[in-house]
């Protein structure tokens, strides 16, 4: 098709469109939805035993707050980087709290290696964790997917990975409020693992289709 014909047909099919709100406003909307979901789940589950006591533990508090901050900043970065005229440097926004969050996971693994006896983490407890994790992260991921569907034509990989990080961090901080087990590794594995799986499959199939 000739370019001038294409222009004519595009102009002929151009109806009015509803402009997107600012990325900051949309990120706030998504975070409010996440907060509402967390509140609902907390009401349903109840806070974990000795929550206030655990919050006095510095490593637990730093872990939870850094996860929450990572989630908030990653959400903002996702909505900004999804637009064509915004810099890719936005991807670095959640980096500082992410480093703190990951280092506290490492510290907890090292610290908890000896005290946890074999059999302390049961299949029942872990599967209950997984169920809560899916219940929290799936609706958040779906809403974000709908809100950012236009980014498929621009920067899909960075947007998907940053969005997955946002969902992981929010879910992890939610789980640590009402779950006795520390499920950070599972949360990260689930969300980022699923994202990497989908990206890998997409890369493979798109190459096959374009061949």
């Amino acid at each position: 098709m000739d370019t001038s014909d294409l222009i004519q047909s595009l102009a002929a099919n151009a109806g009015p469109v509803t402009r997107l709100r600012s990325p900051l406003m949309r990120a706030t909307g998504w975070l409010l939805l996440a907060a509402a979901l967390m509140a609902l789940l907390t009401v349903g589950h109840g806070l974990r035993p000795q929550f206030a006591e655990r919050m006095r533990d510095a490593s637990f508090a730093i872990n939870m707050l850094s996860a929450l901050l990572t989630g908030v900043l990653a959400t903002i970065a996702t909505f900004f980087v999804s637009l064509p005229d915004r810099s890719r440097w936005w991807l670095l926004l959640p980096a500082p709290p992410l480093v703190i969050w990951l280092s506290t996971i490492g510290y907890q693994c090292f610290d908890g290696w000896v005290p946890i006896p074999p059999g302390a983490v049961t299949v029942e407890a872990a599967s209950s964790c997984l169920a809560t994790l899916v219940l929290t992260s799936l609706p958040l991921s779906l809403v974000m997917l709908v809100m950012l569907r236009y980014a498929a034509a621009l920067r899909p990989t960075s947007v998907i990975l940053m969005g997955s990080l946002a969902v992981s961090a929010i879910t992890s901080s939610a789980l640590s409020m009402f779950h006795p087990l520390d499920a950070t590794a599972m949360v990260l594995g689930w969300n980022l693992g699923t994202a990497v799986l989908f990206l890998g499959a997409a890369a493979l199939f798109s190459r096959r289709l374009s061949n």
């Binding site: 098709m1 370019t3 001038s4 294409l6 222009i7 004519q8 595009l10 102009a11 002929a12 099919n13 151009a14 109806g15 009015p16 469109v17 509803t18 402009r19 997107l20 600012s22 637009l83 064509p84 005229d85 915004r86 236009y150 034509a153 621009l154 920067r155 190459r207 374009s210 061949n211």
Partner: protein
């Protein structure tokens, strides 16, 4: 809503006009670019509201600019034109993501670079699995490499060599060198009738000799 839009448009215009005024004193080109960006910003804002005439004008105006941008990435004319069309289609599908309070240029260039890089990657993948067509890829081998043809040629030359000299000369001039009867007559000094007769006999003899060989 419309007041807010106008205010935002005025904000962009006043900012760009100030930039334009500064630029005029320093460099006229920058001023022209800033003016063009304001025009495109206004046209895009109107297009988002459903003004098809503005949208048509915008697309016509940005196309040469897009071509010049894309030529930095793609040297091939058709690749460049396909990329321009990709950019126009992407712009159309995500035109709701443009914020009229921000300049139009960076938004357009962001889309253009993305599409140009995508096509470069696709071309790279194609180049990896494609090879240039060479002689050895031809389905039909050249006659000089065909052993059967070589054998036939050898037999024919042998058969022609065993003909009487006049018949040999007639075949050589009329059939192999494809001369006209008149030229061949001038060349040999023989009459046209003699040449015709010699050729006729030569072909008869050759047919007999080659069919004998074929039977044996």
């Amino acid at each position: 809503m419309s007041n807010d839009k106008q205010r935002r448009l005025r904000l962009v215009s006043s900012g760009e006009e100030r930039a334009c005024a500064d630029a005029n004193s320093a460099d006229r080109t920058i001023g022209a670019e800033a003016t063009r960006d304001i025009d495109w910003t206004i046209l895009m804002a109107r297009a988002q509201d459903g003004d098809t005439a503005s949208y048509l004008r915008l697309l016509h105006e940005i196309t040469p600019y897009l071509r010049s941008l894309v030529r930095l990435w793609h040297k091939d004319h058709w690749d460049a034109e396909d990329t321009v069309q990709d950019i126009l289609l992407t712009l159309h599908s995500i035109r709701h993501t443009y914020d009229p309070s921000r300049p139009f240029g960076p938004w357009l260039v962001g889309i253009a670079n993305r599409r140009a890089v995508d096509r470069l990657r696709r071309r790279g993948r194609q180049a990896l699995r494609e090879a240039p067509l060479r002689d050895e890829h031809e389905g039909i081998a050249s006659p000089s490499q065909d052993s059967d043809s070589m054998l036939d040629k050898h037999h024919l030359e042998e058969a022609i060599g065993s003909l009487p000299p006049i018949q040999q000369r007639a075949v050589d001039l009329l059939k192999l060198k494809e001369m006209s009867l008149k030229d061949a007559a001038a060349e040999t000094g023989l009459s046209i009738a003699s040449l015709k007769m010699a050729t006729h006999r030569a072909l008869k003899n050759l047919r007999a000799m080659l069919s004998d060989r074929g039977d044996s």
